[in-house]
Structure formats: C-alpha cells, structure tokens
C-alpha cells in the first residue's frame, strides 16, 4: 500500500509539471485579456523544436531554449491577429492549434522513433539526499528533472510578477479595463503582445518538458490534449497562479489514478450491503475512459459554483477577457 501511494504521488507530480507550465502561460495571456486556445499547438511546436535541437546539437539546454523561443515566435501569430487586427480570439487560437499540429506532424515525421538523452533526474545539492528520504512525497518532489523544479518555482515567480511588479500590475490592468489603463498611460497593445508572447514561451517550455525530460522522444501529437486541460485548468484556478499549482496536482492525480486504479480490485465483496447495486456504479466511476473526463467535469463544477458565489465572481475572470481593444473612440 505504501508503495502504491508513493507511486501515485510520483505519478501525480510527474503529470502536473506540463500542466503547471502551460497553465501559467495561459493564465498570463488571459490576465491581459487575450484568450489563447492555441496552447496545444504551441506545445507541439515547442516539443518538436526542442527535440530536434537537442538531437542535432546534443544539448538539451539549448533545445529547451529554442523551444521557449519557438513558442514565443509562433504565438506572435496569435498576438498579431487578435491584438493588431482585432480578430476573433477563439478562432485564431483554434487555428493556431490546428496549424501547430499539422506543421509538427509534417516536419516531425522523420524524427519519431529517435531517442535523445534529455534532462536527467537530480536531487537538490546538499539537502537533496535527505529530502528524498521523506516518506511518500520525498522522491516525488525532490528527485526530479530541472524542468519539474522550474515549474514549481515559477508559480511564486508568476504570482510576484503579476501582483508585485509594476509591469505585472499593468498587464493585469489591461485585462481588467483596457480603456482606463490606456488613459493612465499603459500601452495596451505592448502589454498584450508581451502577455501573449510570454504565454507562448511557457507553452513552448511545457512542450519541451515532454520531449526533453518526460518522454525524451518526439511523437506526432504527443501532447494528446494536455493543452486543452491547461485551458480548463486556468478556469479551474479562477485566474490565480497559486491555484494553478493546486489544480495541476488535482488533474495530475486524476491522470495517475486512471492508470494506478486499474491494478486494484475495487469491487465490493458479497458481504457488503448494496454491493450488487454499488459495484456497477464503482465500475462506471473507475472506468479509465470516464476517469479521463474528470478534469473537465471538475472545471464545470467550479464554473457552476462560481455562479452561486457572486461575491467571488468579480475576483475571478479578467473583465476584458476575449474583448479586443481599439483606440479609436466612437
């Protein structure tokens, strides 16, 4: 049982890094008022460009850097369409996902099946070997790749950036009320461009984490919908960076449970009252396909609950989300 819990903890933390990185990126973009549904496509661009760079140069660090740059570059397309041309954000984002998926499938074709040696798992210097001894969570948290540590570290960094720096506060203000921010002298276009590109860089890093640290392979569509979970995660976290961490662990736990619960016999014995009725229910609830929908069901629940808790609503979604901004006053 202890082995199972430790395994589950490891799997949860492992599955959450990609969600933290992509989720933080999407949060930054949405905080400035720009919804980016292209996360999935940007992640794939990051995963492929990082992998190819690491394969060719032998340096996973260089690969990681290139993936971040590529994520930022491709998200410029979204920024240009939505911020400069005032195009529909949802359409542009979905287009970016389709574009990223198509391009990486085409150009990544000859790279599948190749392996690299990516980021190794490391313990922290000095204290690491003691921390790993901590029961259950020790190996999960303190024997990880650099990208896992970076994701954890970025949660407070993004929080500080958004709420404790001038530029971050300007970014948030642009997502709440672009007109007022503009009047106050904040360059709405520059801030939104910054937010979208920064968000793209995070998504690029999330993709590179998959191909350089988690799997160390390239495979077409290897993100398998995790970009969409990241979008749901931002809603679940109600646009707060610290809740991204909580949500990523929760979604990561569902992901891990789906695989670990299959090894358990969870049927109730005949001695248990109502076993005949409860077993089909258990079967349904623990069916792997049903379990993979849990992150979305939980997100729906959060949305529903938000409606009933009106006092919290104004703290949640950026007021100007999905609204394009034009300086021409009418």
């Amino acid at each position: 049982m202890a082995g199972l819990v430790t395994g589950l903890a490891n799997a949860t933390v492992n599955a959450s890094t990609v969600l933290i990185l992509a989720g933080l990126g999407e949060l930054i973009s949405e905080r400035a008022g720009v919804l980016n549904l292209g996360v999935e496509g940007i992640m794939l661009v990051g995963a492929l460009s990082g992998f190819v760079t690491a394969f060719v140069t032998g340096s996973y660090w260089l690969g990681f850097g290139v993936a971040i740059l590529a994520g930022g570059l491709i998200s410029l397309v979204h920024a240009f369409l939505c911020i400069s041309l005032n195009s529909d954000q949802a359409v542009s984002g979905i287009m970016l996902t389709l574009l990223g998926t198509g391009l990486t499938t085409y150009f990544g074709n000859s790279w599948s099946g190749k392996s690299i040696s990516g980021f190794p798992e490391r313990t922290l210097p000095l204290v690491g070997e003691y921390l790993v001894e901590i029961p259950i969570l020790g190996t999960a948290l303190f024997q990880s790749t650099v990208t896992d540590y970076a994701a954890l570290l970025l949660v407070p960094v993004v929080w500080l950036f958004l709420y404790r720096t001038n530029i971050g506060l300007e970014l948030v203000s642009v997502g709440e009320d672009p007109e007022t921010a503009d009047t106050m002298g904040v360059d709405v276009f520059k801030m939104r461009y910054l937010a979208v590109v920064l968000g793209g860089m995070f998504a690029g890093a999330a993709g590179a984490h998959l191909s350089l640290a988690f799997n160390e392979i390239w495979s077409a569509s290897m993100t398998s919908g995790r970009g969409w979970i990241a979008v749901a995660l931002v809603i679940f976290a109600r646009w707060r960076p610290e809740r991204i961490l909580l949500g990523a662990y929760l979604f990561g736990l569902f992901n891990a449970l789906q695989l670990y619960s299959q090894g358990l016999d969870i049927t109730l014995g005949t001695g248990v009252p109502l076993a005949g009725l409860l077993n089909p229910v258990l079967n349904f609830v623990l069916n792997p396909t049903i379990m993979s929908t849990y992150p979305y069901i939980v997100t729906l629940l959060v949305l529903v609950l938000t409606v009933f808790r009106a006092e919290n609503r104004e703290l949640a979604q950026p007021s100007a989300l999905v609204q394009s901004y034009s300086r021409e006053l009418d």
Partner: protein, 357 residues
C-alpha cells in the same frame, strides 16, 4: 496528399481510356494479366514515420516495388477515412489496378466504392468485410506476441509482467492473452497486469502506465501504442521491453527484449503476383508465422542465448502446426471468427477483467 508521378504508361492509358473508364469492364480491357504489369496504390491513415504501423506497410511497399520490375506503386499518407474514396477515385482515374487500404477506418468507404470499379482489385487490412473484388488481410501477430511471451517468461525475475494497452478491443485482448500464455507456458508462476491508456497515441500516458506497472513489481513490459515511449521508459527502469509492428531496438538499448513484427511484403508479394497473372481472388487472408507475414525481431543484447533457442523451439512447433497458441487455454479450438472478432476475456494469469470499452 497524393504523391503522383506521371509515367509514359499513365499518359498512354489516359489518352486511350479518357471517358471510357466506365466501359473498361465491358470491353474486356481489364489490366490484370496484361503484359504491361500492375500498378498499385497504398493508402495510409497517418504520415509514415520511422516506427509503427504505417512504417511496416511502407517498408513492405518499397520491398515489393524493388523486387518486381512489372510493378509500379504509389502511396498516399495522412488520408482520413472521410477522404479515402476521393483519393481512391483519383488513383483509379489515373489507371491503378489495385488499391491497398491499410487502416480499419477505410473498410466501409472501400466496401462502398468497390462495386463501382469491378476491374480494380481492392484489398483492405484489418477489417472484416469483403466483396467479389475486395479482399481483406491481416497477420496473426498474436503468434509473434506468444513467442515474445515465452522469452518474457524466462527473463522475468519478479514473475510479474506488465502490458500497456490502448483500447480493450478483441485485437488487443488477443495479443495480450497470447503474450501471457507464452510466458506461463515456460513459467507457470508468472502473472500479468494490464493498463489501458484509452488512446492509440499518448506517450506521456504510456510512460506513466509503465511506471505504474514497474511500481507494482513488473520487470518485463509489453505494449500496444504507436511510439517508443514504453520501450524507452522500461529501459529507464531497467525492465525488459517488448513491442510490436517494427523494431524499436534503438530506443530500448540494453533492455530491449524484442518486437512482434509485421512482414507485410510476404502478403503483398504473392497478392500482386496473382493480380499480375490474372488469378487474384477475393479472400480473407489471416496468416502468421508459417507464411512469414509475422515474425519476431532480433532479440536485445542482454537476452541470453538459451532464451533465444527456447523461443526458436516454440516457433518451429507453431510453424510446423504441432502447437497452437491457444492449446491448453479456454480458447482452444475456437474458430477464426471468434479469435478475430470476439475474444473479450483474459486467459489465466492476468489480473482483473477486460474493461467495458
């Protein structure tokens, strides 16, 4: 994405048959048996990459194209089932004699379109529908999985095997059963555990699943998903890895077990010859080790010689017909129809039950 090269023969054909394609059947001008050879189109659902399902078909296409000077082939990749009829019609209008559709999703579109072109040979891989001019073909990959199982049973020290599946359909259940049967035949203490990822391609989930299986004590892993993720994660955990369709020796390194391979050229070769000689007939091809259409890859560097020779003994028994995979299991004596389309429970030694898909 149709790759089309216009040849002189195509041009001549186009010049003489323009507007008359529909009448070809009446005029007896069928291309089969003609001295001008055979042209065949191969259609794949995904882009062909270095490993996996489409790679195995593409390798075979290249092999037969090199082998026969009377044969010309072309291929299309990334063709969605919804588009396959249009692609087929394009090929037929350019004079193709035979169409090979290589994914389950093409079955209904091909079945629908085949009667419209009675002089064209249609062959569909992995489905169950046929027509007078549409055959179906598949390989008994489970026989190769069985041999991998024999090796796994001898290699395991924990007596615990792990298997990562995609979807719980008969095709996968059959291969899992064969693998575990092979292992238990040489090592009755072996048990196996299965994890379903509910995706044909999801490398991170495969990695998680392999970790979960290793965590449970498995030291030999097999899998059914189109990527090297399982092989590579198993190697990271110092567990032996077996896989399927193409070799993944590079990804497995020292811990590579082997792979259950499709050698489709063993089907394509004779079939194309039959088309060329004019004696092709629609049939349900489901051959295995004896026909060479499935096989086992070279074993990894750490697999001892006595394990390999034990596998070879079983291989000979199956090829000679002295043994079947299902001998001594509850599936002994079941019909091919059952084995192909209805197997939906585990053999002895596998934990749990097949989930409702």
């Amino acid at each position: 994405m149709v790759r089309k090269q216009l040849t002189r023969r195509d041009a001549l054909k186009a010049a003489t048959t323009t507007g008359l394609i529909g009448l070809a059947g009446c005029s007896g001008g069928s291309s089969s048996g003609d001295s001008d050879g055979v042209s065949a189109a191969f259609i794949y659902q995904a882009e062909v990459s270095d490993v996996g399902w489409d790679r195995a078909h593409e390798d075979a296409r290249q092999a037969v194209t090199d082998q026969y000077d009377w044969l010309e082939t072309e291929f299309s990749e990334a063709v969605a089932p919804g588009d396959v009829q249009r692609v087929i019609e394009q090929y037929i209008s350019s004079g193709m004699d035979a169409i090979f559709g290589t994914t389950f999703g093409y079955m209904d579109p091909m079945h629908e379109i085949a009667p419209e072109y009675p002089d064209v040979v249609f062959e569909h891989c992995s489905g169950f529908k046929t027509r007078e001019n549409m055959g179906r073909y598949y390989g008994r990959l489970y026989q190769a999985r069985f041999l991998c199982g024999v090796a796994a049973g001898l290699l395991t020290e924990t007596n615990q095997l792990g298997y990562v599946g995609a979807f719980p359909i008969p095709e996968l259940v059959r291969q899992i059963n064969a693998f575990v049967r092979g292992a238990r035949l040489v090592n009755p203490d072996v048990t196996a555990s299965v994890r379903w990822t509910n995706a044909w391609l999801d490398p991170p989930a495969v990695t998680q699943a392999v970790n979960a299986l290793v965590n449970d004590g498995a030291d030999v892993i097999n899998n059914h998903q189109t990527s090297t993720a399982a092989v590579q994660t198993a190697a990271d955990n110092e567990a032996y890895a077996f896989t399927y369709t193409t070799s993944m020796a590079d990804a497995g390194g020292d811990w590579y077990g082997s792979s259950a391979l499709f050698n489709w050229e063993e089907f394509y070769g004779p079939t194309l010859e039959a088309i060329n000689n004019g004696n092709w007939e629609s049939e349900a091809y489901w051959n295995g080790l004896d026909a060479g259409v499935v096989g086992v890859d070279d074993f990894g560097p750490q697999v001892p010689d006595d394990v390999v020779s034990e596998v070879e003994t079983y291989e000979e028994e199956i090829v000679s017909g002295d043994r079947t995979v299902w001998q001594g299991t509850k599936f002994e004596g079941e019909s091919d129809e059952f084995l192909f389309g209805e197997m939906s429970s585990y053999v002895e030694g596998i934990e749990g039950e097949v989930p409702n898909s």
